[in-house]
Amino acid sequence: MDTLLTGLWKENPVFVQVLGMCPTLAVTNSVINSLVMGLATTFVLILSSAIISALKNIIPKQVRIATYILIIATFVTVADYLIQAVSLEVYKALGAFIALIVVNCIILGRAEGFASKHGVWKSMLDAAGMGFGFTFALLCLGVVREVIGNGTFLGYPVFGQGYEPWVVMILPGGAFFVLGAWLILFNWMRERRKREAAAQSDKSRELVAA
């Protein structure tokens, strides 16, 4: 359980480790795209982690990275055809970014850093945690960008008729701004928690901080 939660929050791949930025920024212009991308990455992450940790004693050390990438590429091809079969519309919206899951640093990072050292069951749990953490981060961006930039949530209008969408949020620049803003928010929360811990011994300092 702990392994699962670590990836979800404490070591969130996007917000804490700053990995896998390209899909994070590129596909989060709507909620549905973010969700599909997150789930596809989770799928690839769990299955490739399972295979890699099962084969970890057979794979020679020198060619391990190449082997990992081949295993990952196989599952990405599966995911690619799966999404194409289920929803052609989403497939077109995501475009090359499904194939680009191969080069998502989160997957290779977990393969090298976790799956190659732990058992199958634990690696799958870790992969699931990281995958859901990634999906969570994508949704954080996707929701903000779709609601503010388009005035809709999953395609349904949220605001009244008179709402003028902030087009900048849908544009590439907006992706950088929203992610930057989330990082600032999380930094601020971390700073505040640290300050509160320090202030508990000293009440007067807490007043200044507030």
């Binding site: 700053v18 990995l19 930025m21 390209c22 899909p23 920024l25 590129a26 990275i65 190449a66 990438i69 081949l70 590429a73 196989t74 990405v76 091809t77 690619d80 055809y81 090359a96 194939a99 680009l100 191969v102 080069v103 998502n104 640093c105 290779l108 900048v168 544009l171 590439p172 620049g173 907006g174 992706a175 950088f176 701004f177 992610l179 930057g180 990082l183 600032i184 930094n187 601020w188 700073e191």
Partner: protein
């Protein structure tokens, strides 16, 4: 201008659809290696070189795989091509410039997982570019990447000297700057019609 013409492909991949700032490819090295101007420009050149070589190989592979009717092998073979090209560049750099090899550090092997390179290869395949078009596209994309990372490194060198508030320091300020850069590159959108 004809959207298939060589000049347009070059212009579009450098400025209008800049790989880093409009298509979001290669963000990891863009944030990771853009601390110093010198390292950034060399990283850009290494990426451009890998792109040119892998684009050539990928074009030939695409033709070969289409001939034997196995398009599902495309993704896997592209990855193998890129990985071996990067290995080649790594050996080359290590031999001829150990200083640069040290400066690039972990980011040199990581070019393999640079999505800009795989992205470029995938785009040229899905758009059915001819050989000349592919090479031009690869060259433009590489130059575009270099341009973005060099601009970013220049700004970050200046940022070092200014008082950035504590909570914004690090990745957050880099993303904000990238946002502004990306907005300014939007200005090229009207170019070439």
């Amino acid at each position: 201008m004809n959207s298939e013409s060589i000049g347009f492909i070059l212009l579009s991949s450098i400025l209008i659809n800049n790989f880093v700032l409009s298509v979001f490819l290669g963000i990891c090295p863009f944030i990771g290696v853009s601390k110093k101007l010198e390292t950034a420009s060399r990283m850009g050149l290494a990426v451009t070189f890998v792109m040119l070589v892998s684009s050539t190989c990928a074009y030939l592979t695409h033709v070969a795989l289409a001939a034997i009717g196995a398009p599902y092998l495309e993704l896997i073979s592209f990855i193998v091509i890129i990985a071996s090209t990067v290995q080649l560049v790594e050996m080359f750099v290590k031999k001829f410039s150990p200083a640069l090899f040290k400066a690039l550090g972990i980011f040199l092997p990581l070019i393999t997982t640079n999505c800009a390179i795989l992205g470029q290869v995938l785009f040229q395949t899905s758009r059915n570019y001819s050989f000349i078009q592919s090479i031009t596209f690869a060259f433009g994309a590489g130059i575009g990447f270099t341009l973005a990372i060099v601009i970013m490194a220049g700004i970050r060198e200046e940022l070092e000297l200014t008082g950035v508030p504590g909570i914004v320091k690090g990745t957050a300020i880099v993303l904000m700057v990238a946002g502004v850069l990306s907005l300014s590159f939007m200005g090229f959108a009207g170019l070439g019609g």
